[in-house]
């Protein structure tokens, strides 16, 4: 993974000192709260319902075991003993004190971490495919380019006061594991007809109250032109993005207003003037960064391990976990392990300090000390030998980390919701907990198969509800929490936005409603190979709608 050189290390120290000074000026009354707010947000510090929240950057989701131990230490010492892994591959602490924040940042800097640009109207932490570097289907390691973008976007002098936040994601495979087209800029690494490497720019996607699938604005930008094309795109946005209405300030609104073609023309005009400037990316810098991501020297192993096969045959629980939570690896004899942070009845994405320490130890023992965070709020060990899987699984089980539910209906994305967030209409976490209890039977879970369920506590869509196969959105009805259900969304390569099923449900009805949707699918599917989303696409929303509202009526009359 990338390691800081002297320049990166000096930079983070300087930024930490600068923020310490800003906190001191605020505490001394030299800065008003209005002035301090954007400054603290650029350093990941939110004011929430009950306390400050600190969001720590995990660039493109990659963590070392040493960094994970530091995150555990911070959770224990400065928070209530846990942290929350987020859909943007970051970690949030919900209970830090303002005057502790500079000390926390100093601890983070010791392990090459920070909270820079995890919030605020600037270019946020860049996200990527959590299987980068180990996925069999990638044409290039997207981390190399994510790191180029991380450096370019860090304290960018021109783009630190944008109309609104700006999120970039990058992938390098046809399979989209990073919800690429839901971002302000989604980048897909491609090769042109000559075999040269470049980037397809999908600009102007986003979620929130106006969900938009990012349109293709330019199908090929040569690798050396990446930064100039990014600069040109951001410049057009910075100059012309709306600043009069916060709800219309994202780049997606500008792209929609101009049309993708006209937007692309304006970017092109700007780009042609700066393309051959200092922004041209030197090959030696790419080569320098690439060294850090060179494939590790791995022991040569046979593709098939008999001991592993025997264990799977003997232990159906283990076999189910292998089936749900591990993926094919680039290298024979290895598997990619996803560790679910969605235990039955738990808060999605939360990990305790003890769990983090254990995960760091397991990463050292089984995965070259490397860990990844996924945008579905799980963790990944990218380099596990098949013969180690059984021991790893057993150890994970002892810490309630062996839930076999990755990409299944209880692998729920949920935002913090009304339990923490001051913008929320409704709680998200209790809904996730109820649903995960309802579907807790492992056999039933496996039978249902791939089904992505996403929950947001309000229309801001932090929990990706628009692009869940099933989406749940918290709404407020006369001061009561209600939940609107959408079906048919997807954030993957088959991206689509969900459609509203019908009138919203109360907290007491929502779990039944979801269960009816799932049962209806099981009745209607052509076989276990047909995923929920495929059945939905074949039949549309009507059969689901009918069943859900009929059974709601039946339950009502039974109760009367």
């Amino acid at each position: 993974m990338y390691r800081y050189d002297q320049f990166d290390a000096t930079f983070v120290r300087e930024r930490t000192a600068q923020f310490k000074g800003q906190v001191a000026r605020r505490l001394a009354g030299e800065l008003t709260e209005e002035e301090f707010r954007p400054l603290r947000l650029k350093n990941g510090l939110y004011l929430q319902l009950h306390a400050y929240m600190l969001r720590v950057a995990i660039p493109y989701g990659e963590l070392s075991s040493k960094q994970m131990r530091k995150l555990a230490f911070i959770a224990r010492r400065y928070d209530k003993g846990y942290g929350h892994f987020t859909t943007r591959q970051n970690i949030q602490y919900n209970w830090p004190r303002l005057d502790d924040v500079p000390a926390i940042l100093e601890h983070l800097a010791e392990v090459e971490m920070h909270a820079i640009q995890t919030s605020g109207n600037c270019i946020r932490n860049v996200t990527s495919d959590h299987f980068a570097g180990v996925a069999a289907d990638e044409i290039e390691d997207p981390r190399v380019w994510a790191e180029v973008i991380r450096q370019w976007s860090t304290l960018h002098p021109e783009f630190s006061y944008l109309p609104r936040k700006f999120k970039i994601a990058i992938i390098a495979a046809d399979k989209d594991r990073a919800a690429m087209r839901t971002h302000d800029i989604g980048l897909k690494i491609v090769r042109n007809a000559k075999g040269e490497l470049g980037f397809a720019f999908y600009t102007g996607g986003g979620q929130g109250r106006t969900p938009i699938i990012g349109p293709l604005v330019k199908s090929f930008v040569a690798a050396e032109d990446l930064l100039s094309y990014l600069d040109a795109t951001l410049r057009v946005y910075n100059m012309h993005g709306r600043r009069d209405n916060i709800y219309k300030a994202r780049i997606k609104i500008l792209v929609q207003a101009l049309g993708a073609e006209e937007f692309g023309r304006q970017v092109e005009e700007e780009w042609l003037r700066i393309k051959d400037s200092v922004l041209k990316l030197p090959a030696e810098e790419v080569a320098r960064i690439r060294q850090y991501f060179a494939p590790p020297a791995l022991e040569k192993l046979p593709a098939r391990n008999e001991g592993f096969e025997a264990k799977k045959a003997a232990d159906p629980d283990f076999a189910r976990w292998v089936q749900a939570n591990t993926d094919d690896h680039k290298v024979d004899g290895y598997r990619i392990v996803t560790i679910s942070l969605k235990p039955v009845g738990g808060a999605p994405g939360d990990a305790s300090a003890d769990q983090m320490d254990l995960l760091a130890d397991l990463a050292d023992a089984y995965s070259l000390g490397q860990i990844r965070v996924t945008h579905r709020q799980n963790l990944v060990l990218p380099y596990v030998r098949q013969q180690d899987l059984f021991d790893l699984w057993a150890k994970l089980g002892s810490a309630k980390l062996a839930e076999a539910n990755v990409e299944l209906v209880t692998d729920i994305i949920a935002c913090p919701g009304l339990d923490y967030c001051n913008l929320a209409n409704a709680r998200s976490i209790p809904v996730a907990q109820r649903i995960s209890r309802r579907f807790s039977d492992p056999k039933r879970l496996a039978e249902i198969g791939e089904l992505r369920l996403n929950i947001s506590g309000c229309i801001n869509a932090c929990g990706h509800h628009h692009v869940g196969h099933i989406g749940i959105l918290g709404v407020d009805k006369k001061g009561e929490e209600f939940y609107q259900v959408t079906l048919g969304g997807s954030s993957a390569e088959d991206i689509s936005l969900g459609k509203i099923l019908g009138p919203a449900f109360s907290l007491d009805q929502i779990t039944d409603a979801i269960e009816t949707v799932v049962d209806t699918y099981l009745d209607l599917r052509e076989g276990p190979q047909e995923r929920f989303i495929d059945t939905y696409r074949r039949l549309g929303i009507e059969p689901f709608k009918e069943k859900v509202y009929d059974s709601l009526k039946e339950r009502r009359s039974a109760a009367e």
Binding site: D8, L39, Q151, H156, P157, F159, Y161, M239, I274, E284
Partner: protein, 168 residues
């Protein structure tokens, strides 16, 4: 009124003239874009130095044909969170090749000062009542810069590879 140059407060040599006020003969004056456009022919012939102030929604492309005659372009920060002027400064320098003075005025904070200089600003005129202290310190907060802009600060990228060239 004070302006900041290289972090140091200095007396302001330029006079902002309201749209309905008469122009002083000799002073260096800054007029609004509206006045510049209305009186362009006369103003271009004026003997003393002249500058134009642009609001944050006014693009420098509106004065691209007049830059040969202008000694200063002032860019407004109506709120310090309105970052359009950063791009406008870069358009002036990189795209239009303007070599005169670029001045930022309005709601600016020292926390933006380094960014301003990196985008091509020369001077800053904070709004009345705003602190002018701390700007010199703000310049020293960072020694590492990632983005190549057109100022003369070496980027991490250049330093890395210069170093390697020496080592090789």
């Amino acid at each position: 009124m004070t302006v900041l140059r290289n972090g140091v407060p200095q007396p302001n040599e330029w006079v902002r003239v309201a749209d309905d006020a008469p122009l002083p003969e000799t002073d260096k004056v800054i007029v609004s874009l509206e006045r510049w456009q209305a009186e362009r022919v006369n103003l271009r012939q004026r003997n003393a130095a002249i500058g134009v102030a642009l609001k944050s929604e006014q693009s420098p492309l509106l004065i691209q044909d007049d830059l040969d005659r202008l000694s200063l372009v002032a860019l407004e920060f109506p709120k310090f969170t309105d970052g359009r002027a950063f791009s406008h400064a870069r358009v002036l320098r990189d795209r239009l090749g303007f070599t005169g003075e670029i001045r930022g005025f309005g709601q600016v904070l020292r926390d933006q000062y380094l960014f301003m200089l990196r985008c091509g600003f020369d001077t800053v005129e904070p709004a009345a009542g705003k602190r002018v202290e701390g700007y010199a310190e703000a310049l020293k907060e960072f020694s590492v810069f990632y983005q190549p802009t057109n100022d003369d600060r070496a980027t991490a990228l250049q330093l890395r590879h210069r170093k390697e060239a020496v080592a090789a």
